[in-house]
């Protein structure tokens, strides 16, 4: 699984294992072996202690919604005329997105495909899961628990 299948643009990073893990059903973070700081999105280097020995660790997947939106005017790669726009059921119903906090300083961004925007509330409990799109790309979805 190439990292680009998640990131769209970039394939070359020391944390490209993330996409592989995602394809295997896991949302992973990195933890600094020296000072214990945990990073999501994962980082290959620790900005707390400037060391670069990290280990991979699966994240908790449940947390409270920090915020959300639904983008009706999408950028180039998500234009509605493109068949690949993820989770777009009808032309004028793009999918909401949001950010949940699964631990202190551990925010997970994801699509919220199953919810009416009016029913999404800041603070609601949600769960993050990997999701493989029909075109082979891989991403993350959030749903209420």
């Amino acid at each position: 699984m190439e990292f680009k299948n998640f990131s769209l643009f970039i394939n070359q990073t020391k944390v490209n294992r993330f996409a592989e893990d995602l394809a295997n059903g896991k949302i992973t973070s990195t933890v600094c072996k020296h000072c214990g700081t945990q990073y999501y999105p994962p980082r290959a280097d620790c900005s707390s202690c400037m060391q670069s020995e990290m280990e991979w660790k699966e994240l908790p997947t449940q947390g409270n919604l920090l915020t959300f939106t639904r983008i009706h005017v999408p950028p180039e790669h998500f234009a509605v005329r493109q068949p690949l726009m993820p989770f777009s059921s009808v032309q004028f119903e793009p999918c909401p997105i949001g950010i949940i906090e699964v631990g202190k300083g551990l925010p997970i961004m994801g699509w919220i495909p199953k919810m009416d925007i009016k029913k999404i509330k800041v603070g609601m409990r949600m769960k993050a899961s990997p999701f493989v799109l029909p075109d082979g790309k891989i991403t993350i979805v959030l749903e209420p628990v």
Partner: protein, 385 residues
């Protein structure tokens, strides 16, 4: 520390400028600026160019397009960039040029030519002003980032969609009085409230525009400024600060820490506080951004921004007039030009030349300019004396 003043200002027409290229837009602003100062380019020592996007300028080193076209070479000129705060980064760099002794008179220009690329491409370029690796894959856009700030702010403080729309109503009103503004018509609260959703809860009238435009200011050392200008506008405080790249990594989702830090530095340097400001231009790329700026700059308490606009305290005649040039919202937001345009407007106000938008006896003004979704923020404070 040496003193630096603005001794010349120039502003081109903002809008969909399909009649002109980037270099031609700059020429208009530079010509106006030199005429205003009564100087020729020969008397200028150095230059700083603010352009935000290579992809808008069709090439790296857009500064070379500028120094070539206005004939400034062989003198120093280079580009600075801080996304939507690029123009203020240029001003800061121009100030450093003079205070460090490298130059006595510096031309600071900002420009962006955004409408030559298709709108969906412009939306993508700006969407990647968040984290291109970790946010853009979720289809994020500029309105999307600020919509997430809006939803968090509404949940935390009860800010309403009406209050957001009230910012649009104010800024369109003042835009209608500014001949350089892209949008020169007023909008009603009802029209703003019923416009289509761009990124929930932000509607069309909550969003600034995609704009072509240029602006320029001439900076001078104290000695030169006193010799050259009857109405120098002194740069009294500078602040620049940064924040995490991704919204989710920020200390707060309802304020911009970079703005709070930049404001703190600028107030300290100028030796004043928020209540001393007579007029301000703040970064209203979206209506929620103006409300958050009220709070981050100390114009009101945290969470009170919505109520400040509701009480019309940011109109001329109110407690603290904000964006009475129309703001990014109505004047337009050509990324690299915006910060310089803000300095032009505050200079007009402090000189008493703002016409129907004039704040009476304005002595101290402030500009606030944010890059990306808050990764950088610059605050500048200007004084008449």
């Amino acid at each position: 520390m040496k003193k630096v003043a603005i001794v010349g200002i120039g502003h081109g027409k903002f809008g969909i400028r399909s009649d002109a290229s980037l270099r031609e837009l700059i020429f208009e602003a530079v010509k106006a600026c030199l005429d205003d100062a009564g100087l020729s380019l020969k008397e200028v020592d150095s230059m700083v160019t603010g352009v935000a996007g290579d992809e808008f300028s069709f090439g790296i080193q857009p500064s070379a397009q500028v120094h070539d076209y206005i004939g400034f070479y062989p003198k120093p000129n280079f580009r600075v960039e801080g996304a939507c705060a690029t123009g203020s980064v240029a001003l800061r760099t121009g100030w450093m040029n003079i205070v460090s002794g490298l130059a006595d008179i510096v031309l600071v220009v900002g420009v962006e030519k955004m409408t030559e690329v298709p709108t969906s491409v412009a939306t993508e370029i700006m969407g990647r002003a968040g984290d291109a690796i970790w946010e853009y894959p979720f289809g994020t856009t500029f309105p999307g980032y600020y919509a997430m700030i809006a939803n968090a702010h509404m949940a935390a403080y009860g800010t309403t969609e009406e209050q957001l729309a009230m910012v649009a109503v104010k800024n369109h009103y003042y835009g209608s009085l500014n001949p350089y503004a892209q949008m020169q018509k007023e909008v009603t609260l009802e029209k703003a409230m019923t416009s289509f959703t761009v990124a929930y809860p932000l509607k069309l009238f909550d969003c600034s525009l995609i704009t072509d435009g240029a602006a320029a200011v001439l900076l001078a050392s104290e000695e030169k400024a006193k010799a050259l200008s009857k109405k120098p506008v002194w740069l009294a405080g500078l602040g620049c600060a940064t924040d995490a790249m991704r919204l989710g990594d920020r200390k707060s989702m309802t304020s911009l820490e970079a703005s709070r830090e930049a404001a703190k530095a600028a107030y300290k340097m100028a030796g004043i506080g928020p209540s001393d400001i007579n007029v301000a231009t703040v970064h209203d790329c979206f209506t929620i951004a103006e409300i958050v700026a009220y709070e981050d700059l100390g114009f009101c308490e945290k969470g009170e921004g919505g109520r400040l606009i509701e009480a019309k305290e940011t109109y001329v005649g109110g407690r603290i007039p904000v964006n009475v040039d129309g703001g990014l919202k109505s004047k337009g937001h050509p990324l690299g030009a915006t910060g310089v345009s803000m300095a032009v407007e505050i200079s007009k106000q402090l000189r008493g030349e703002a016409g129907p938008r004039q704040v009476k006896n304005a002595q101290i003004g402030l500009t606030h300019n944010v890059g990306g979704s808050g990764q950088i923020s610059l605050v500048h404070i200007f004084r008449r004396e």
